[in-house]
Every structure is written in structure tokens, then in C-alpha cells.
């Protein structure tokens, strides 16, 4: 305010009168028009109509961060005026002739002599640019491409310039997608480790306890790394909220992590065997929760690709977790102990595939995000690896365990195990990217909701009709 006051009381210094270039007004359009009279206005030092932009100019330092020479920013006012690019309309009225410039309304030159466009003064739009042209009247409407069948004239197929309705989660794929994988590997691994220990398969148990501990430590690191304020990670344990899967998960990890670690340390060192056994069983009881809750973590969002599949997603995740843990067991355990791991691998891969198929059937239009793009590629890779791993695991059961073929059987089992691990990682990353994709495209938000509204309307109409007849 004070700046403007100063400006008004200032004497007749030539004011910068920044031109607001009319769109499409080319150079020379006002040739000569204001040249003679411009200086008159100049010497009178009147405030120009563009006083706002002038005020901004006089406060150059504040507006532009760095001070630039006056002439560099605004040019020579006299020359600008002679080129007709500065208005002579002042607060005291019009000085001299008006510059021969006309506003372009609706992409059309409205000057009386603009009749060369066939204007005649009446608005008449034209498509595209022609002559001095201008721009199309209306910003093109953002429609979903290809327009889906349900797109209707009432606007249900439209969006706001194609912008997403949801804000995309800022989660990193390696941190959160990686955590989905590692958490599953750890959780299911603890189950298999306890089962192996109870069925006297000590080497498999030890291997799985070790992988679970490493995986859960990696999970915690990834989760903390993904925080916007990693130093505040302990705030996660500030409250316990059943409505927040992340809060539930934090408490789960706080209980599960130490148990897994204790089980592994006891096994590796031989210390406190009874406590170690208790920790092993405790970790096995919490492990499935760790593997399954991540599905709720993803599904309890507005992301259509995750939320709409909340019934099947936990089964995809536990199936994938079982596949990964069985893969780790096949890599690490000797053939004599690997029998159940092979079965778990087959069952896990089967459960994952069945649940994924069911989920895509339920998702309808949104299932696209699981079939196309990066997510589609990852999930197809996962499917191939899982099939190959399961077949390899089954084949390794039939190869001889003793004698000449022993090495071959072990190698097949190890390679199968690696394939199963990779398959699980690809599944999780695929689900992660499918969710992001479904959040980025407004059609996955709008069209299912439109469908829901339509069904609700139809249901209401059906319910009201009998009442109206009676």
C-alpha cells in the first residue's frame, strides 16, 4: 500500500509502463499509431493505465529477487512508446490517438476492419488459427481415452483436464514395495522355521530364522528410510490405533522383530534354548499377521487398485509370502529336509495365482492396471517365475537324493528357490505399481464411483416403484 502511495506522489519521472501484450498482436500491429503523441504523455508524467504492473516494476528488488537494471527489464520507455506498445490511455483520459490495437475476444479480431475474417462485428468462432488468429476459444475438454462405453453426455466420462483426483502416495517402490516383500518373507519364514523345528528339521529352521531376522531388519530400515522425517520414527509408537493399519503394523513389528531376532540368536549361539524355542513359536504366531497386514495397509487407502481388491489382496500377499519363504528354504535347506518346503511352494504359488485371478475379476475396469504397463510386466514375470519355480521344486523331489544325481537335485532345488523368491518380489512390486497407476488416472476413480451411483439409483428406483404402485 505504501509503495503505491509513494508512486503516485512521485514527480514526472518516465514511468515504466509494462505492456500487457494482447494475445496474437504481432509486432508492428500498431505501427506508427502512438508515435507522435507518446512523448506528450511522457512529459506530463501521468500514471499509465497499467499502474499495477508499473508499481511492480518500481519495486523490482522485492518482486524479482535480484536487482536488474531498469532498462534491461523494461527497455527504453520512449522507444517502447514509439513502437506503439505502450498505451496512452491515462487516468486523465486519452492522450493522443489510441494505439491501433484491438483485443482478441474469442479468438477473433473485432476491429471493424477485421471484416477480412468475415467477422462483421458479431462473434463468430473459428476452429484453429487463421490469419492473425488467436487461440481456440475453449481449452479442450479432458476426456478419458478411449472413451469408455459408460461415458455419457452428463459428464461422467470427463475429468478436470485429465488431472488425477487422488494425490499419489510418495512412497518409494524400493522402500514400500520392498517392505511388502521382505515383511512377507520374514513372516512366513518364521512359520516355516517353527514348523521345521517342531518336525526335527534343524538346518531348515536355522536357515529360515536367519533369513527372517535379516528380512525384518531390512524391513524396519526401509520403513524408516521412507519416512519424511526419519528421526521421528518413534512417533509411530506414540499411539495405538486399530483404525490405522500402519499403527497396528508398527506394534506388530515391535513385537515380532525382537522375537525373531531372539529365536535366531538362540539357535545360532545355542544360548538359552528354551527361551529360543518360546521365541520361535511366538514369532511363528505373529509371523502370519506380519505377512497379511501389509495387504490391509495397502487396501485401507482410496487407491482404487488396492482398495477395491481388499478381499483378495491378503490372500495374494500371504500366498506370495509362503512362496518366498519356501523359496528361501529350498535355497538354504538340504534336500533331506526340503520336502515340506516344496509343498508350501506349490501351495503358496497356487494360492497367490488363484487370489490374483479372483481379485482381477472383481476389479473390473480397474483390473487394467494389473495387466498393462509396468505392473503388468512385473506380474507376468512373477507368474512365469512362480510357475518355473514350482515346477522345479516338484521336479527336485523326484530327482535322486543320493549317489551320482545328488548334486543335480540340489542345484535344481536352489535355482527353483531363487525363482520363487524373485517371483514373490515381482508380485509385490507389481501390486505396488498397479496401485500407483490406478491413483494417477482419474478414470479409475470416477468410472467405478459413477457405476456405484448408478446402481444405487437403480436400486432406489426398484424399491420405490412397488410403493408407488400400491
Amino acid at each position: 500500500m505504501s509503495g503505491r502511495g509513494n508512486r503516485r506522489s512521485r514527480p514526472a519521472a518516465p514511468e515504466p509502463q509494462e505492456i500487457q501484450e494482447t494475445r496474437g498482436a504481432g509486432p508492428g500491429s500498431g505501427s506508427g499509431a502512438g508515435s507522435g503523441s507518446g512523448s506528450g504523455a511522457d512529459t506530463k508524467g501521468r500514471t499509465g493505465v497499467n499502474s499495477r504492473s508499473g508499481a511492480a516494476g518500481s519495486g523490482t528488488g522485492a518482486g524479482h529477487g535480484e536487482r536488474r537494471p531498469y532498462a534491461e527489464t523494461y527497455g527504453n520507455p520512449a522507444r517502447e512508446r514509439s513502437r506503439g506498445s505502450v498505451s496512452d490511455v491515462t487516468t486523465d483520459g486519452v492522450h493522443g490517438r489510441r494505439p491501433d490495437r484491438a483485443a482478441l475476444v474469442g479468438g477473433q479480431d473485432l476491429r471493424p476492419d477485421g471484416a477480412r475474417h468475415g467477422g462483421g462485428g458479431r462473434h463468430r468462432r473459428q476452429r484453429g488459427r487463421r490469419g492473425r488468429g488467436g487461440e481456440p476459444t475453449v481449452v479442450p475438454e479432458a476426456r478419458f481415452e478411449p472413451a469408455p462405453a459408460s461415458a455419457s453426455p452428463d459428464g461422467s466420462g470427463t475429468s478436470y483436464y485429465g488431472r488425477p483426483i487422488l494425490n499419489r502416495p510418495s512412497w518409494s517402490q524400493w522402500d514400500i514395495g520392498g517392505y511388502f516383500f521382505l515383511g512377507g518373507l520374514a513372516g512366513a519364514g518364521s512359520v516355516l522355521a517353527a514348523a521345521a523345528e517342531l518336525t526335527r528339521r534343524p538346518r531348515m529352521a536355522r536357515a529360515l530364522k536367519t533369513t527372517s531376522t535379516a528380512a525384518i531388519a531390512g524391513s524396519a530400515a526401509a520403513l524408516i528410510h521412507d519416512l519424511g522425517r526419519p528421526a521421528r520414527f518413534a512417533n509411530m509408537l506414540r499411539v495405538c490405533k486399530p483404525t490405522s493399519p500402519m499403527s497396528v503394523g508398527s506394534w506388530l513389528l515391535a513385537g515380532y522383530g525382537p522375537l525373531t531376532g531372539a529365536a535366531a540368536v538362540s539357535d545360532l549361539t545355542g544360548l538359552l534354548p528354551r527361551a529360543g524355542r518360546t521365541a520361535t513359536v511366538g514369532a511363528a504366531l505373529l509371523g502370519p499377521a506380519v505377512a497379511a497386514y501389509t495387504a490391509v495397509l495397502a487396501a485401507d487407502t482410496a487407491v482404487p487398485g488396492w482398495h477395491e481388491g481388499y478381499r483378495e489382496l491378503p490372500f495374494v500377499f500371504t500366498g506370495s509370502a509362503a512362496t518366498a519363504a519356501a523359496g528361501a528354504a529350498l535355497v538354504a535347506a538340504p534336500a533331506a529336509e526340503a520336502g515340506p518346503a516344496r509343498s508350501v511352494a506349490l501351495a503358496g504359488a497356487g494360492l497367490e495365482t488363484a487370489a490374483m485371478t479372483a481379485m482381477q475379476r472383481r476389479l473390473g475396469l480397474v483390473a487394467e492396471v494389473y495387466r498393462s504397463g509396468r505392473a503388468g510386466r512385473l506380474l507376468r514375470t512373477a507368474q512365469t517365475l512362480s510357475a518355473a519355480g514350482a515346477a522345479g521344486a516338484a521336479a527336485s523331489a523326484l530327482l535322486p537324493r543320493r549317489g551320482a544325481g545328488r548334486g543335480a537335485g540340489r542345484a535344481v532345488a536352489a535355482v527353483s528357490g531363487l525363482a520363487l523368491l524373485a517371483s514373490s518380489a515381482c508380485t509385490r512390486l507389481g501390486v505396488f505399481h498397479a496401485g500407483l497407476r490406478s491413483a494417477e488416472d482419474p478414470k479409475y476413480t470416477v468410472l467405478p464411483q459413477r457405476e456405484r451411483l448408478r446402481e444405487r439409483e437403480e436400486r432406489r428406483a426398484r424399491e420405490e416403484r412397488p410403493r408407488g404402485d400400491g
Partner: protein, 381 residues
């Protein structure tokens, strides 16, 4: 905020139903505020929005929100989306004015008027006092007056152009956080950083937020966001600091046309019903309220809107649902999946038997493999 109002809101509440979804008449009371003022909110009447963006500026200034990155770097500063270079709501934009250009008439407004013979200088000499009978017909013009102008109600928009196109209308709407009755961002926040105020609004405590980012995908409207370079989540606070001092929020204060109206939610809902009826009478058949209904998927918004087209045209979801409505069902399914993992693994290990006591030979191994599909079928629901 009288004692009577406080009593009315603080006591005698309706029986509490499901706190995760559905109508919730006493949202602040259910959040634990025993004595609290009435729930407040915004009614944004987009039919009188002129797109001045004063709300955006007032919000930025009052709340000291930093400039957007794009504007600083010139990268992506201009969107090509009509006059909207803000884009959408986010960490650094708590009010966002949308501009929509459409080839549709707006009520009885006539945009396609011949101006060729008009002497603008004579008009200017006449001053600003346009005689009422010469004023343009606006959406709020009563039908009888509109008819008096010869604008036949059956075809008020004039004939379409030879190329079949009708006239342009320009919709402007100031979007903001909806302060949902059932706020997903608040429900999923693992730190308790987001909380329900005594005014029934939803606010982030910046000293608690650890930037987990869970609220971002939880919001069905795409409002809250993590600030780049800061990590924490930010959104509209409905000027919690101003409310506490008895002031209205900065955007409502700045709005020159009262498109943004602030007040007790009950009162705003009544006012909105009257306004939408008035617009419909005036021939604006598209006018509708959005987010006002306590029966909707989020239990009604604390900030609701009068729109002139479908919500998705403005970038709003047509039928938002708070994601935690389905949370109990999600936990049930996850529990079933966890039990399937535990039970399936136990069953398969049991089928194989103990390694020490296992019968030698292939049949047991094959039996185990055969057992797999059976157990799979059982667990896959």
C-alpha cells in the same frame, strides 16, 4: 457458541452408530470434546465465484505457505488449463480455484450477443449506472424478468452456431479440504498427528507428523500431501488459529463475492438448500449441492459446495467413500489369510511328518505334493 448452543451440541446426542461411516451428528463430541462449540465449515457457492483467487492468496499469506516449486523454477509454472496455474490441492495449495470452459449455456445467460454497433465510448460516458432494464440476464434473474426481456424460456440460449456449437460458459470453483465427518486421513494416521478439533475440523500437528505419508493415498479427494523437501504432510486447517480467536478463516474473509461462506454447518446447510432452490427457479437446472449429505460415503463434508455440473468436471470424486468404512471387513479377510498361512504350513509339515520318524521312500514325498492343491483350494475362500 453460546452456552445454549454448546449444550445442544455437547449433550443429548443421537445414539452412536458405526463410528467408521454413516451419519455422525456430534463429530467433535465423539472425538472426546465434552463441551465444544458447534461444528463449523465452509459452503462454497461456485455460482458466484469470479475466479479472482483471493482465497488462494489469503490462505497462502495467512498460513505462510511456501511458493510452489514449479513457479520458482519456471518449470511447469504454466499448465495451459484455462486460468488455473495452481493445478490442484496439495501441501502448498490449501485453496485451489478451478477454471472450466464449456460449450454450454449457463442458465438464462446469453453470451452470444452482437456488439458490433455498440459505441463503447458513449457507454463509458454514461457511467457505470446501467439501467436495470438494460442489465444482462444473469443466472439469478427471476424468470418473470427474464421473460420480460423476450428471452423465451423454451429457447433462452439463442440458436446454435452454424457449426452446431453452442455458447461458452466458464465455471470457477474454489476447492478446499472437505473436513470430512469420517476423515480417512485422520483414521489412518499412525502417530496421532492428525486430530479432530473442538470445531469438528481436521488438523495436522506439524510437531508430531513423521512424514509416513499414509494420509496422502487415504484421502478420497486428493487433498493432503507431503511437502517436498520437508517430508511432513500439510493441508487446510480451516484456520484453526483464527477460529480460536473468533475470526473467520482467511479465505472466507477475503472472498469478495461471498462464494466462500463460513459458519456453523447446520446453518450453512440451510442456506445452501435455499440457494440451490433459488438457482433452479432461475433456470439453472444443473445446480446441485455436493458433500452436504450426512448419508454419503464420508458422512457429509464439513466443507461442501454448490456446483453447476457433475463433480468430476471440477476434479471431485462423484461418490467418495471413507476407506476405513471397510476396515473391519479388511481385518477379517487379513485374519483369514493369516490363519490360512499358519494352518496351511502346519498341515503340510504334518503331512510330511517328522524328519526323524518319516517313513522312507517316495510315496510320502508324493503324498505331500498331492496334498498341496487340496489345501490351496480350501484356503482360497
Amino acid at each position: 457458541m453460546s452456552a445454549g448452543a454448546t449444550q445442544a451440541y455437547g449433550t443429548g446426542r443421537a445414539p452412536r452408530g458405526n463410528l467408521l461411516a454413516g451419519p455422525e451428528p456430534d463429530v467433535a463430541g465423539d472425538a472426546g470434546h465434552a463441551q465444544h462449540p458447534p461444528r463449523v465449515g465452509f459452503f462454497t457457492d461456485t455460482s458466484v465465484c469470479i475466479g479472482c483467487k483471493a482465497c488462494e492468496v489469503a490462505c497462502k499469506e495467512w498460513n505462510a505457505i511456501p511458493a510452489r516449486d514449479g513457479a520458482a523454477s519456471d518449470e511447469g509454472a504454466f499448465t495451459g488449463m484455462s486460468y488455473d496455474n495452481t493445478g490442484g490441492l496439495g501441501a502448498d495449495t490449501w485453496r485451489h480455484v478451478a477454471f472450466i470452459e464449456q460449450n454450454k449455456p449457463l442458465g438464462l445467460a446469453q453470451a452470444d450477443v452482437a456488439h458490433g454497433a455498440v459505441d463503447v465510448l458513449a457507454l463509458a460516458a454514461q457511467g457505470s449506472g446501467t439501467p436495470p432494464e438494460q442489465a444482462a440476464i444473469t443466472p439469478t434473474t427471476p424468470p418473470d424478468r427474464a421473460h420480460g426481456h423476450g428471452a423465451a424460456p423454451a429457447a433462452p440460449y439463442g440458436p446454435p452456431e452454424p457449426d452446431g456449437r453452442t455458447e461458452l460458459r466458464w465455471l470457477m470453483a474454489s476447492d478446499v479440504c472437505k473436513h470430512c465427518t469420517h476423515a480417512a486421513c485422520l483414521d489412518v494416521c499412525p502417530t496421532g498427528s492428525l486430530f479432530r478439533t473442538e470445531f469438528g475440523t481436521v488438523v495436522v500437528q506439524e510437531d508430531i507428523c513423521n512424514g509416513c505419508g499414509y494420509c496422502v493415498p487415504a484421502c478420497p479427494y486428493g487433498v493432503i500431501e507431503q511437502r517436498a523437501g520437508d517430508g511432513r504432510a500439510f493441508k487446510c486447517t480451516l484456520c484453526y488459529d483464527r477460529l480460536g480467536a473468533g475470526q473467520e478463516p482467511a479465505c472466507a474473509k477475503a472472498c469478495p463475492t461471498d462464494s466462500i461462506q463460513f459458519g456453523p454447518l447446520d446453518e450453512l446447510r440451510e442456506r445452501a438448500e435455499a440457494r440451490v432452490a433459488q438457482l433452479r427457479d432461475a433456470g439453472v437446472a444443473d445446480a446441485r449441492l455436493y458433500g452436504h449429505d450426512p448419508e454419503d460415503g464420508v458422512g457429509g463434508d464439513g466443507a461442501f459446495f454448490l456446483l453447476l455440473d457433475e463433480p468430476e468436471v471440477y476434479g471431485l470424486p462423484p461418490d467418495p467413500v471413507v476407506t476405513t468404512r471397510d476396515l473391519p471387513d479388511m481385518w477379517r479377510h487379513a485374519g483369514a489369510a493369516a490363519l490360512a498361512l499358519l494352518g496351511g504350513a502346519a498341515a503340510l509339515f504334518a503331512a510330511h511328518g517328522s524328519a526323524g520318524r518319516r517313513r522312507p521312500g517316495g510315496p510320502a514325498r508324493l503324498l505331500g505334493l498331492l496334498g498341496a492343491p487340496v489345501s490351496k483350494g480350501g484356503h482360497a475362500r
